[in-house]
């Protein structure tokens, strides 16, 4: 094993987090390499020195402050809760909605007025005149297939000449 590869293993070796095979490999390198052996010993000393720092305790009011902040947290609302209105607001909204509908019904566009049956027949008869329109008739496809009309006046004239 090279000294470079030791970089990734030396702390795990000290922590006892290597497999048996890896540990044996590191140990073999340490036996042969003075630089890495000294480093491992000094890392171990650093590790022990870090143990000398005492722990501190949170101040006595810590839990109280956390709980107070949690109590001040707004309660979560579901989407359904957003639809729930206080009774007064719901009543006022309903009244407003009904009033709006009433105003629209009374004052707005009355829509199509129903036509009495006799007036409806008259309107239909008016539409019939369209059928007599020359353009409409000339563009009427089935009529185009008929043979041209016979001119009766010219036939009579021919008989007289004879």
């Amino acid at each position: 094993m090279s000294c470079e590869r030791m970089e990734n293993r030396i702390l795990a070796y000290m922590d006892g987090r290597l497999s048996e095979a890896e540990r044996a490999e590191v140990q073999k390198h340490l036996d042969a390499c003075t630089v890495c052996r000294v480093r491992a010993t000094e890392f171990s000393s650093v590790n022990d020195l870090l143990d000398e720092l005492p722990m501190i305790e949170p101040s006595p009011g810590f839990d109280v402050r956390v709980r107070a902040r949690i109590a001040a947290e707004p309660a979560r609302q579901s989407w359904w809760d957003w639809l729930r209105l206080p009774p007064r607001v719901a009543f006022a909204s309903s009244v407003l909605l009904l009033a709006t509908m009433f105003v629209i019904y009374r004052g707005g566009d009355p829509g199509p007025v129903p036509i009495p049956p006799d007036q409806a027949d008259a309107a239909m008869m008016q539409d019939l005149s369209v059928m007599e329109d020359h353009d409409t008739l000339s563009n009427f496809e089935p009529l185009k297939e008929l043979p041209p009309p016979v001119d009766t006046n010219s036939a009579d004239d021919d008989q007289q000449d004879m």
Partner: protein, 199 residues
């Protein structure tokens, strides 16, 4: 029977406030210590630790036990600490340059250095205090990410995979980070290391 962190968190999710109290009890000291060693101010450390617990509480309804609870907890704590250090970097520099030399006792009372009495025990105490101060300063001088890695590795005893997740890096990058941190500490603490070697 002691409930696991995940079980407690699932109970909190189900609306059991007492389980949150147990998590608070279980993790307030490790969190405050980790944050204190990260930001070097007891007051700030406690404020940040409170914020960690509040964020855990707020996220209770979305909690899914996909990772270890401690990974999640210390990830929040590390991010808050790194943000805090970033925000106060300029301020911190001014304080450390202007502040009088103090013993900066671990109990949070930053007492000014007193003139040493002739009494040997006080002298010994001062030497001991100097020694702790040197160790604290060595940790403090580490780059922020290396410091977080050392603290999580040394004091929280989290495994490499967990620390890597907290610091958002690969396990290999974490090992390299820790190696460099220990190399720096070895140099910074050389006088103490040498003394230990001669004992």
């Amino acid at each position: 029977m002691t409930r696991s962190d995940v079980q407690l968190m699932l109970d909190v999710k189900a609306g059991d406030e007492q389980s949150f109290g147990l998590l608070l009890q279980r993790y307030r000291t490790p969190l405050v210590n980790f944050l204190y060693r990260m930001v070097r101010s007891r007051e700030q450390a406690e404020d940040l630790a409170q914020e960690v617990f509040i964020r855990v509480y707020r996220a209770r309804e979305e909690y899914v036990p996909s990772a270890k609870f401690t990974t999640w907890l210390f990830r929040i704590a590390t991010n808050l600490a790194l943000n805090c250090l970033r925000d106060h970097r300029h301020e911190k520099l001014e304080i450390s340059m202007d502040a009088p030399v103090t013993a900066d006792a671990e109990d949070g009372d930053e007492k000014p250095f007193e003139v040493a009495d002739k009494h040997p025990t006080i002298e010994q105490e001062l030497l001991e205090e100097d020694r702790k101060k040197m160790i604290r300063r060595a940790i403090e001088r580490l780059p922020e990410k290396q410091r977080a890695a050392v603290l999580l590795h040394k004091y929280q005893e989290l495994d490499y995979a967990e620390i890597a997740k907290i610091l958002s890096c690969s396990e290999s990058a974490l090992k390299s980070l820790l190696f460099r941190a220990y190399e720096t500490l070895r140099v910074e603490l050389a006088p103490l290391v040498a003394r230990r070697g001669t004992r």
